[in-house]
Amino acid sequence: MAGVTIENVRKSYGAVEVLRGVDVQVENSEFVALVGPSGCGKSTLLRMIAGLEGISSGEIGIGGRVVNNVPPKQRDVAMVFQSYALYPHMTVAKNMGFSLKLAGLPADEIAQRVSRAAEILDLRPLLDRLPKQLSGGQRQRVAMGRAIVRDPQVFLFDEPLSNLDAKLRVSMRAEIKALHQRLKTTTVYVTHDQVEAMTMADKIVVMRDGLVEQQGSPLELYDRPRNMFVAGFIGSPSMNFIGGTIKKRRFVSGNGLLGHDTDISPMAGDGAVILGVRPEHLSIDTSGIEATVLVVEQTGSETTVLLDAGGTRMTLLARERLTTVPGETVRIAPDYSRLHFFDPASGLRLGGDSDVDEPGPSDTKGNTSMAPARRTSLKNGRTGPRKKLSQALEAIGIRQDRYRPELYYMRGPGPKTHAKSVGADSP
């Protein structure tokens, strides 16, 4: 087993730069998840570790050895593909033993190692079947079996669960995690599903546009997202963002007050900020602000409520069953100890227990991982908190469409004041 070192790695196809300087350190026997929206370069990075893609610049090391120019078969890594890539003309046993056969191992040792792997993965009865005779979950296990018979230094997983149905995905998730705990092989796991990353990984690397936005333990990312992108990406349903300003150490949102008299300001001076509240940290509270219920989603164990709070769409996640109905007006309040503030210009986290630099509200120099292009686009045209919010949201890939609350009301038009304020407020 070995760690993987990725140092300032870049990858470009012609003029298109897919990876723009990535640094990741994977410790020995660590489970690292690379997450990010599609096209962020996570799969490319994985394929570069595997040796299936060349490295434009930078260095990738496995077990302390730089492998930039080492062909895949000498890297001692095994990869599980999204499509499983089982050889259709070989039985399960032959699929699993193929790498050993290529390595020139004697037949009895191949059989022994295959049967040991089959034991671990519960594939014993299937060894003589062809891949087409297997179900999706079984194929997935064979693909993993093919990786583990080799006893490699590093496992690479490329979105291995995305072809499975939801239920199977959850159980395979647990199986992969159990397998890792048992074998303790260093693992790099690519997924676009943040839930998968949160549940399985020791460390999550959030990527976007070929850059690492933040890396850390799942809870670190959840509790202290370094910027709005990570804040919005990690956690489901995703975080609510409310544009506003800090005035006299109190937060004033674009259309009313969300906050209370205590000092919640993360910084000394006044200025524009974006407040982030996770849906699970909002609750129905008579001391809070008014909001209109748009949609109620019951899952049995919890309730998700989509709300219109003074023109801002917000999601509330309650662990208990709520009896609210669409059109109703409720009062909501956040858990004040778990608020996040972001600079609308840079999208960076402000103050609090952040472990990153703490730039002022308009300071954009603090973060090196932000793309210059993105930074300038955020700088331009600051006209008001509302506009800044939508710009900042757009920069992280969330489009806040002008929505029409009346579409959500199941019965009755709802409080007129709110509908009006939305219309009047929209830029």
Binding site: L52, A78, Q82, S83, Y87, P88, H89, F98, L102, R150
Partner: protein, 275 residues
């Protein structure tokens, strides 16, 4: 819905006409092989079948037909093997070895152009080339010529089959430690067997049928079946019935191959088309 429930009879009539158009000449040729020259030329509808044409063609001392038959089989089999091996390697290389795209495109375009040139146009060129290197009137010369003539089609077909193999399979094999030849041998080839079979059959049939180049490059000892059949039309006499009998015999290998490998051809040719 009306269209679906309509009677199938008109459709079957159309199909029967099409089938008749295809089959009629074959039936006529085979039938002509069993007639006497006089019966054929008089246009008798009903006739008493005779074996004389076949026995003449096969066993007569003046006939080289069995030799021609052997020649055709030698040339057909060897040129097919050569052609398909080269085409498979070429298709694999073009598709998977990361050539700059212009190389692959120019190459494929050139093979296409070469394929569109009628073989007759190059027959004399073939002859002078073969003669220069001393390969006229040899099997080697004709085998090389047939392999070359059929390569474009074979490359195009094999390229489609190779492209159909998911790239992940190849990558999985690379991760499993396979070198390029082993990827080809252990993973790609087993998966494109139907394609290889289909391409081989087509190549063999084309070689079997090829006339112009075979005529230029062969003489009496090396002549292939099409050349031999043409020789029945002499200046003073056209031996229609013997010609027909030889033609009927010439159909046999292709027919047998097609019956045996029909499954592969259909599978192979539609594999590329559907997806």
């Amino acid at each position: 819905m009306n269209g679906r429930t309509r009677s199938p009879v008109p459709l079957h009539i159309v199909l029967a006409i099409c089938a008749a158009i295809v089959i009629a000449p074959i039936v006529w040729t085979v039938a002509a092989g069993f007639r006497t020259q006089i019966s054929l030329l008089m246009g008798e509808v009903l006739f008493t079948p005779v074996w004389s044409n076949f026995s003449e063609v096969l066993w007569s001392k003046t006939s080289d037909f069995l030799l021609n038959y052997r020649n055709s089989i030698i040339v057909g089999v060897l040129s097919t093997i050569l052609c398909v091996v080269v085409a498979t390697l070429c298709a694999f290389s073009l598709n998977r070895l990361r050539w700059p795209s212009w190389v692959a495109h120019i190459f494929l375009a050139w093979t296409m152009i070469f394929h569109m040139i009628p073989p007759v146009a190059l027959a004399s060129a073939w002859f002078s080339m073969a003669r220069t290197v001393g390969l006229e009137n040899t099997f080697t010369g004709l085998i090389l010529a047939h392999a070359t003539l059929n390569l474009p089609m074979a490359i195009w077909l094999m390229a489609v089959f190779v492209r159909e193999v998911p790239k992940e399979l190849e990558e999985a094999a690379i991760m499993d430690g396979a070198s390029t030849p082993r990827v080809l041998w252990h993973v790609i080839l087993p998966l494109i067997t139907p394609g290889v079979a289909a391409t081989s059959i087509l190549t063999f049939i084309f070689s079997w049928n090829e006339f112009a180049v075979a005529l230029t490059l062969t003489m009496k000892q090396t002549a292939t079946v099409p050349v031999a059949i043409a020789k029945f039309a002499q200046d003073f006499e056209i031996q229609y019935t013997q010609m027909a009998a030889s033609a009927a015999l010439a159909m046999l290998p292709a027919l047998i191959v097609l019956l045996v490998a029909q499954r592969y051809i259909v599978k192979g040719l539609t594999q590329g088309a559907v997806k």
